[in-house]
Amino acid sequence: MQDKHKDGGMGNGEVVISVRGLYKSFEDIPVLEGVDLDVYNSENVVVLGRSGSGKSVLIKIIAGLLKPDAGVVKVMGEQVDKLKKKELRQLRLKIGFLFQGSALYDSMTVKENIEFSMVRHFKNMAASEVSKAIAEILDSLGLEHTENKMPSELSGGQKKRVGIARTLILHPEIMLYDEPTGGLDPVTSVEINELINEVQKKYNTTSIIITHDLTCAKTTGDRVLMLHDGKFIRQGSFEEVFDSNDERVKSFYDYNFIQ
């Protein structure tokens, strides 16, 4: 396993995702309390935090799936919560989202899952071209011979891969990963981590990876941010974040485990 470079990220300097003063609560329970974040072009940003700390809420607000209570979220210069339905749909074509449980459509085969968004956006594409593109992306992700399988017939790792294939087929510029290694065994987790890095290199994507898996954070993150009680309390390279006497950071981290 190879760790990412330790320069603390910043990509090539162009801000792709900008979050300022973000607040969100559910039924009076505050989840995000003044989050600020800049994600630069082509970098992998990892957001670490305990379960229920609001990590998933953050990327769902970035993707326009949830509305913020207050604050400004800009993706590629566009303020997400101010966009009209059609504009938001156009923006989402540039965003790939891997959901925690993969969220594959239960009633469709692997091929139909990937085809679903393709046929709606590449309307002039011939059926043979669609099939060819699907076969290619499945092959490139090690999913040969799964085209006609139902999601229930796939392993956890395969589901994650199909989830990634489903987003990559639309050539996104931004990838949002919600617990990409959640529920996977250590070997499959390593494969998914490598895949995240491959996607970044091959497609030059800007990514936010939500996780509480330190191996995933160390392997995939150019920059790591730690979310606690609705705010970022540390950020920098993996080593910088955990080189701290802060009890909140230390309690999260069993350094010896991943050394």
């Binding site: 309390e33 965003i95 925690q100 709606r120």
Partner: protein
């Protein structure tokens, strides 16, 4: 940058009263969105056809069985009362009026509320809690159009067809009983059964069936599409879909019957 203000939650009356009115508003908005989306391209004809098959064809066995037994039993139970007056020859027209005017639409709607409504509620609820609906949004597709519009259109088309089918099967069940007891021929039975049915009766049944079909679809979709709280929420969405659909069907039945009677006797 906009000023940051963290607003504490405030209620106009109380949490429960506010949420009740919010729910009413949300339902009205949901129905409004359906009517907006149903006439706006792009359309999802393949999904509508698939749902018609799921809702219609897969309900045929249950509708056939229920319809046949209803016709048979209703005839059998009505016979003693009519025979006291020597009026068993009126059985076909009695059964015809009862089935076409009331039993076929109502029983079909109740069966569909149980079978189809719960299925839609559970299916969409499970898609919501497993983030499949959000995944559709992220695919830049329109889950409302794909999931809700197609299902509501399918129930609105298929329930009237199932009502007509049940009417026919119900009369067939009745015919079996009449034929066994009175040796009435098939042609005579159906002539007697349908002779008293007016155009208004057929129209009213079809209108009722369209309203019931729409109700079953929209309630199931609303509850499923807005399901929360994990697997418990899926079960609740299915259950509440059936209860609310049945409740609304009875209310609609009363209202439509009143209107039809008013038209019938005013004319």
């Amino acid at each position: 940058m906009e000023p940051i203000s963290k607003q504490p939650a405030k209620y106009v009356i109380s949490k429960n009263v506010d949420s009740f009115f919010s729910e009413i508003y949300a339902i009205i908005k949901f129905i409004g969105l359906f009517f907006k989306e149903v006439f706006t391209p792009p359309y999802e004809p393949r999904e509508v056809i698939k749902q018609c098959y799921e809702i219609g064809y897969r309900s045929l066995a249950l509708i056939s069985l229920t319809g046949f037994i209803t016709g048979l039993v209703f005839t059998k139970q009505s016979r003693p009362s009519l025979s006291e007056f020597g009026a068993t020859s009126w059985l076909p027209s009695l059964v015809g009026i009862a089935i076409i005017r009331a039993l076929a639409p109502l029983i079909t709607a109740l069966i569909c509320a149980g079978k189809v409504g719960s299925n839609i509620g559970a299916e969409l609820g499970s898609m919501r809690v497993s983030e499949q609906i959000e995944a559709m949004e992220m695919s830049a597709a329109d889950p409302f159009k794909f999931l809700v519009v197609s299902r509501v259109v399918a129930t609105t088309i298929m329930v009237p067809l199932l009502v007509m089918y049940m009417g026919l099967i119900g009369l067939l069940g009745s015919y079996v009983n009449v034929h066994v007891n009175e040796q009435t021929s098939f042609t005579v039975f159906f002539h007697d059964a349908l002779v008293k049915i007016s155009f208004l009766d057929y129209t009213a049944s079809v209108i009722k069936a369209i309203v019931y079909g729409f109700t079953i679809g929209i309630v199931g979709c609303y509850k499923g599409f807005n399901a929360t709280k994990g697997t418990e929420g899926v079960g609740r969405a299915a259950n509440v879909s059936v209860v609310i659909s049945m409740f609304l069907i009875f209310i609609e039945e009363i209202i439509i019957v009143q209107i039809i009677n008013w038209i019938r006797y005013a004319g």
